[in-house]
Symmetry: C3
Subunit: 203 residues, 3 copies
Amino acid sequence: MTTQYVLELIGTYFFAISGALAVADIENDLFGASFTGFITAIGGGTLRDLILDSHPLVWIADSFVMYAVFAGVLTAILFFKWVIRLKKTLFFFDTLGIALFTVLGTEKALSFGAPEEVAVIMGIFSAVMGGVIRDTLANVTPVLLRKEIYASACMFGAIMYLLLAKFDVPRDMNLLISAASIAIVRTLAVRYKLYLPALGKWK
Amino acid sequence: MTTQYVLELIGTYFFAISGALAVADIENDLFGASFTGFITAIGGGTLRDLILDSHPLVWIADSFVMYAVFAGVLTAILFFKWVIRLKKTLFFFDTLGIALFTVLGTEKALSFGAPEEVAVIMGIFSAVMGGVIRDTLANVTPVLLRKEIYASACMFGAIMYLLLAKFDVPRDMNLLISAASIAIVRTLAVRYKLYLPALGKWK
Amino acid sequence: MTTQYVLELIGTYFFAISGALAVADIENDLFGASFTGFITAIGGGTLRDLILDSHPLVWIADSFVMYAVFAGVLTAILFFKWVIRLKKTLFFFDTLGIALFTVLGTEKALSFGAPEEVAVIMGIFSAVMGGVIRDTLANVTPVLLRKEIYASACMFGAIMYLLLAKFDVPRDMNLLISAASIAIVRTLAVRYKLYLPALGKWK
């Protein structure tokens, strides 16, 4: 049981919570919440694995991924009133999810022989595409396209992972440092209202 | 020519009709209607086959799938005025489509060695993802996320299929019984306004 | 370096520009613009290759595809004020993109042994699905579903490619003629306000 594996399950759990809660304000029944929780949790990784031609998909080969999704959805359902009031909770789970998935996705792409720039993109994809699908289903503009440090924090972390790997930082430590850097960048950016300039307003 | 094959063509035909009609109220030309009919009919199965790594995709290997789509789109175009007035007609075609695709998707996933809980999800995916894509394109909230027994009826039928298979019910009969159970559950649910509780309102 | 390869890079470049600009009116930062530019440029081809089971994907195997995307996004960013004012510019880039991708997609599907009607659909998919994803992300009704000659122009060009190939027109010339025919059909259709009849109003 590797660090990567444990982190992947934890990330899946976090994403399932954030997905189940995401459509809570539209008329959504328990099944719909489970569905969006599931899609959010496995969407990014599924897209990554399809693109890399990595079969069987993680959640098909390993039932524990599915259990992590179930646990996340159940957490969202059971602690709904508690969890939904705290907007920060949602933010917290989503941030942990993207942080973990970015570095895991980057690493997986490298292990499939992808060039480094592709690995960075695969890391970002793993992290954000589940949420993009979730937002698209719920008919809201994906957080990615709103003026917020989001996918750019993932890019930062993916590049940090590549750099630390070049300096021979041990893999488990690299995973944790790079993931933490994503969470920190995003949290600081939201706290201090930092953002990238809009297109056409950057100069 | 197996029962499964014939049912798949019929389900494809029904889905193509429902897809072509789905965007009838937005400015949509004949080509756009054909496109959404096509996407709705093959979307769920395509996603299922990509996830299961089942190549070549059914509609590439077998031209009859395409002909079933063409027939469905043509039906929608030729009998438009007649068909669109009857909201029940659309409901009817969509219900038959999801009923057939759920059991076929479940069975196919099993034949690819997927564990049972994954097979249930693949069955639901085959049935509902075409419609989800259709609704997303037409910019309406997917029926799946509205408070209605829809994907949950598919789950019911997929589990029934697994149970009946355990009791050695002959395959063709199992296919028909399980599909019928989905259509019945959904129809009863709509008729008697049954629905699952919304997230956060279930206790 | 074949004609096909050069055309593919040029088409990618055009699509990246159109994708980066597409969401310029919603709050979108430089990263978001890069993301939609990337998705628009590689979305159609990625879907085509996943469906055909053609691995590794073009943009993973060949870094020049990525550079073409970067160049397109950079063009959009640097010449934003100049480019965004000219609605015709966007139309121009998008038209060249769909023209090139249609014939390339059709040809690729044929080379994978797809039947001719599937090859036509794969050509259309390569051309329009990037834009469909782009429009879906930006929460606008895909151009495809609006009353405009768009995907139907692609279908015209794909069929022309098949016909010319039957008459043994040399491949490079065929590629250029068929792509040009798409650009011409679409441009004429927009100029003279030609469109296909809406569903239910065609007779």
